[in-house]
């Protein structure tokens, strides 16, 4: 009895270990030739096509809400001239990678998990292995790389749309001055902010794709199993991404001192 409880309690650790091992397998297959360029391009196009529009639509209110919050707060401090700078910081550092991760996990990751899960239960993956082809190399690696690439681009998209949305909101609705908004960009923000946003997006894309592929490839028990796999992959990805986001932000503040003056 106690052994059953123990094995139940320890099951998540086993899953975490298997997920990590899967990640290592992917890392090894990354360098194995031949590289599946065609599959990579198809997947990149597919993921971009399901995420671009929602991302842009999410980014506008994201930028606006940040402009609203920051604008109100800054007015209380009496530092209106820093509004632009503050919203750039918030969008580029945090909102960009987070919005990207939500979309990559929710739209891209769920599609990947569903696709691979359906292939798994219909024995397509078995058939592929039997034909002497490693599904990790043939299917997973191109998806992971495509997800990473698209995540970086989406991050750029969110940054641009978010800052533009903040501009419109600040200037048109909050009576800010365009000059002050634009001129304050470089007051607090700096170039490393942009790099860290991109690095975050890259890592988030990697995690989302690996979790989605792992869940899809380990789906079991018929069509319901595929649904469960998609569900689990989105939830687990969200959890992981928020934790990783916190850790990366903390590291970033240690490595790059905030700009003064």
């Amino acid at each position: 009895m106690s052994s059953i409880t123990a094995s139940r309690a320890l099951a998540p650790i086993g899953t975490a270990g298997k997920l990590f091992a899967f990640g290592l397998d992917v890392g090894r297959a990354l360098f194995r030739r031949p590289f599946q360029l065609r599959e990579f391009l198809q997947q990149a196009w597919f993921i971009a096509s399901v995420t671009i529009v929602p991302t842009a639509l999410v980014a506008i209110p994201f930028g606006a809400v940040i402009a609203l919050q920051v604008g109100g707060l800054i007015k209380q401090f009496g530092a209106q001239s820093f509004t632009g700078s503050a919203s750039v910081l918030a969008v580029v550092r945090e909102a960009g990678p987070i919005a990207t991760s939500l979309l990559i996990a929710g739209a891209g990751g769920s599609a990947i998990a569903a696709d691979l899960g359906a292939r798994k239960i219909r024995e397509e993956l078995d058939a592929m292995m039997v034909l002497g082809i490693d599904p990790i190399q043939r299917l997973v690696v191109p998806r992971v790389l495509a997800c990473m690439l698209v995540a970086v681009f989406l991050n750029g998209l969110v940054s641009v749309v978010g800052v533009a949305g903040g501009y419109v909101f600040n200037v048109v609705l909050q009576d800010g001055t365009p000059g002050a908004y634009l001129a304050s960009f470089t007051a607090l923000a700096q170039l490393p902010d942009l790099w860290q946003g991109m690095a975050k997006a890259l890592i988030f894309g990697l995690i989302a794709a690996i979790v989605a592929c792992y869940m899809g490839m380990n789906a079991g028990g018929g069509p319901k199993g595929v649904g469960d796999a998609v569900n689990e992959s989105v939830v687990i990805t969200f959890l992981l991404l928020f934790v990783v986001n916190f850790v990366m932000s903390a590291i970033y503040f240690q490595l790059v001192p905030p700009k003064t003056g």
Binding site: A118, A127, M129, V130, L131
Partner: protein, 316 residues
Amino acid sequence: MGVEIQIDQLTKSFGKQLIWGDVTLTVPAGEICVMLGPSGTGKSVLLKTLIGLLKPDKGSVVIEGTDIASCPEKDLYEIRKLFGVLFQDGAMFGSMNLYDNVAFPLREHTRKTESEVRDVVMEKMDLVGLIGAEDKLPGEISGGMRKRAGLARALVLDPQIVLFDEPDSGLDPVRTSFLNQLIIDLNAQTDATFLIVTHDINTARTVPDNIGLLYHKHLAMFGPREMLLSSEEPVVRQFLNAQRVGPIGMSEEKDADELAAEQGQDLPPLPPIPLQQEPSNGIPRRGQRPPGEWCRENGVTPPDGSFESTNAGIAV
């Protein structure tokens, strides 16, 4: 030339549930074998273990000196190129049409030009009678067609070992007997080793050179076709003649009460052993033995009327 599969002491369980234990047999090179067993005795699991999709708990599967059960993944992918496998539902890639499905192994593993690929694919499509359906997606065709397309894909690399997971499930009787003829003819042409997992008695009685029977978590018997068809062993006899009387029950083996109730009943006489199906060009296969040879060599008298027709001879 076919390749021999040596299976030794193979044991597989899922969690605490034993599927089968100590399975030892040799699938002879270039011969056709059928693996029989009641539903749920792990026939498909055995097939998946032979190609390394499942790892056995212990034992070995040796093909050309490589142990599938313990070799590294890299060797596994190499050795799998010897195999052609037909899955139960065909396992076609849903996102590709039939032509691309059949061409897939050629494009991945060979440096053939597209026109060479086309020749091979069309030849195999013709073999399974699917000319004209190349542009269809697997979701748009019937289960039987998917199965035949799966066979075309399994054969496209000219495999040394062909494994069939229930080739007859979901096929009508006419297509099943065409498929059986195709298996015989392919074996005659290529001398590949064939292992068929099924519970179709008709196939089992007329197609193979050897028959194995999985029952109650072990290999009940494996040997030449005539040995099993003339066997008095209750399990083998019950299964190969599709009878209710015997140790196999509805769910698994029968319990003691049911068996005791059958004590007095006479088993129906063994039906005659049918002739083996021959290649359509009439030239005997390499693995084929003359009808009745095994019975003569082993002093077994075959049931009356044996070796007179290819009629499966199932007692009704």
